[in-house]
């Protein structure tokens, strides 16, 4: 997948970097002082870079953990997110990443040790991965779980959320299930997946993956966030929820979150450059420095009512 590697001087001898170079066919290496020299370059074209992407191998520098407001929690009091990668191989047309980042290159922070130390220092809390890129999509390359699952197994006061739109389950069969890990799938009806969540696993594949890890004893989460307004929304969502919950064993369901499409207004201009996002933007209005659906309340109220048929109230969280 990658043959062009930008490598920070600080990590050039890191074992993960060496592994990348050993596995790549004819790797092309360009050294840099700081990943931002490449990732934050002026006048980059996100769409053009998607065609010729590259991997930047970098050192994560403090802060390693970022606090998340309680309103976005799944029942925990202290919530933090962390990023082992920036950017995502998936191409969701509504994703804020294409508004947030100028570059479509991937950044992999290879020094997991420091992030794990920061989590250990916190002792307890909920720790969310998958904010700056799908947690599992690049797992065969990043081997994030190979390090993080054993760590969380030894630190049961801390809870790890892995969030994904992939159907990659291999690590969960190589490791015994742990109570303090939630594998959360972001889900949307298949017509949305096909049209707007390019390169992600189909709904059916995600549901089969979800069932497989659940059967093995892992806790799962369902993330209906963002829900996307579309023709036939009410009928389609009703059928969609029914299908999803036919795969779910309630005792292993950790939490369900519900949220509608929203985007910080500041990202609008960058996203407008990406032609394919415009249809989403056209359906939204500006509200309190964010772009949101005009019918947001109505859409969410309907979904909440439907979800209450399947989910106990204490497991349902609205964003």
């Amino acid at each position: 997948m990658f043959d062009t590697f930008y490598i920070e001087e600080d990590v050039k001898t890191h074992p993960t970097v060496q592994r990348y170079l050993e596995k790549a066919k004819n790797p092309h290496v360009i050294f840099c002082k700081n990943y931002k020299e490449i990732f934050n370059r002026r006048k980059q074209n996100f769409r053009e870079q998607k065609k010729h992407t590259a991997m930047i191998l970098a050192k994560k520098r403090p802060p390693y953990l970022h606090p998340i407001p309680e309103a976005f929690s799944i029942g925990g009091k202290d919530n933090f997110y962390f990023s082992h990668i920036l950017n995502c191989p998936f191409d969701c047309q509504y994703c804020f990443l294409q508004g947030m980042y100028q570059s479509a290159y991937f950044v992999h922070f290879v020094n997991y040790e420091e992030t794990l130390l920061a989590i250990k220092e916190k002792g307890s809390g909920h720790f969310f991965s998958g904010y700056d890129g799908d947690s599992l999509a690049l797992e065969p390359k990043t081997r994030f779980l190979e390090t993080f699952l054993p760590f969380f197994a030894k630190n049961p006061q801390a809870l790890l959320e892995i969030r994904t739109k992939s159907a990659y389950t291999k690590p969960f069969f190589q490791h015994e299930p742990i109570d303090n890990c939630v594998i959360a799938w972001s889900l949307n009806p298949e017509n949305i997946v096909r049209n707007l969540e390019k390169k992600t696993a189909s709904l059916e594949k995600r549901l089969k993956a979800l069932k497989a890890v659940q059967d093995r004893g892992w806790k799962i989460g369902l993330r209906f966030d963002p829900i996307i307004e579309h023709a036939g929304f009410f009928k389609n969502m009703k059928a969609f929820f029914k299908e999803v919950f036919s795969y779910v064993q309630e005792p292993l369901l950790h939490s369900v979150t519900l949220g509608a499409f929203r985007l910080p207004k500041a990202y609008k201009k960058t996203m407008e450059k990406n032609v394919s996002s415009l249809n989403i933007l056209a359906h939204s209005i500006e509200k309190d420095r964010e772009l949101r659906y005009e019918r947001e309340k109505e859409l969410l109220a309907f979904c909440e009512k439907e979800l209450q048929k399947y989910v106990p109230q204490q497991k349902l969280f609205k964003i």
Binding site: D3, T4, Y6, N26, H28, I30, F31, C32, K33, E37, I38, R41, R42, K43, Q44, N45, E48, Q49, H52, A54, N191, I192, R194, N195, L196, I228, H230, A231, E272, V275, S276, L278, N279, A282
Partner: protein, 247 residues
């Protein structure tokens, strides 16, 4: 247009001949062009390369820019061809690397004021790249700027004015230039546009809507509207009502 920025006439001649470029009259420095390409013989040094870019960009709608020329290297043999992936400096620049241009090995480069004699580092040395790239970045997206260099001299191999090293790589370089110009043409082709004035935002929205309808047999010409905004709303409604997978 594609701008070929080249410092010296002897480096430029093979391209002028190959692409049948015609000399422009009354320009501040020699310019040669055809329908797709404008080649400037900019003179030596990064200031001249930068100034030339500004001048050409003011005259022509430049969409892609390529700097081609000779460079020195401590150990590489004369005639070796490189694409530039890093221009060393404070700050360094990192031109975009395209996988389909097999100009490997690509390498780093230092732009110097005078012809390099010591070749202390294992990189290419030229006299224009940094000026060219800085100026190009003011006009173009990063992904539309390319630097291709051919080794012409080294510590034991003094520079000799000749076109032969360019001639050696001409076929390959001309192939890449043709590829870039054909991509430029494709990007230029507007999709179906009704006879209305579309702002650039509305053009994007139109492209998006039309791409959703690809493969369908919808007849867009039947949609009548007094202005672009109404037209787009009508088109969107048609798609919403007609396409089963419309989102």
């Amino acid at each position: 247009m594609l701008f070929l920025s080249i410092a010296f006439p002897l480096e430029a001649k093979p391209f002028i001949r190959h692409f049948s470029l015609q000399k422009e009259e009354k320009t501040f420095f020699p310019l040669y062009k055809n329908e797709q390409i404008v080649l400037g013989v900019t003179g030596c040094g990064q200031n001249k390369a930068a100034a030339a870019f500004g001048y050409v960009a003011a005259l022509y709608p430049i969409k892609i820019a390529v700097n081609i020329g000779y460079a020195g290297h401590a150990i590489e043999k004369s005639g070796a061809l490189f694409s530039i992936n890093k221009i060393l400096g404070e700050p360094s620049f990192y031109p975009h690397r395209r996988k389909d241009f097999s100009l490997d090995p690509s390498t780093s480069l230092q732009t110097v004021e005078k012809m390099e004699k010591t070749f202390a580092d294992l990189c290419l040395y030229d006299m224009e790249a940094q000026g060219f790239f800085s100026a190009a970045m003011s006009f173009l997206p990063l992904e539309k700027i390319f630097l291709w260099k051919i080794v012409s001299d080294g510590p034991n191999d003094p520079f000799v004015p000749t076109s032969k090293w360019i001639e050696k790589s001409l076929e390959k370089l001309a192939g890449y230039i043709n590829k870039l110009t054909s991509e430029m043409k494709k990007e230029k082709n507007e999709p179906f546009l009704p006879n209305l004035h579309f702002s650039s935002y509305q053009k994007h929205r139109l492209q998006r809507l039309l791409s959703l309808a690809e493969g369908s047999d919808l007849d867009f010409s039947s949609i009548k509207a007094p202005n672009a905004s109404t037209y787009l709303d009508a088109l969107e409604k048609t798609l919403r009502d007609t396409l089963p997978n419309y989102v």
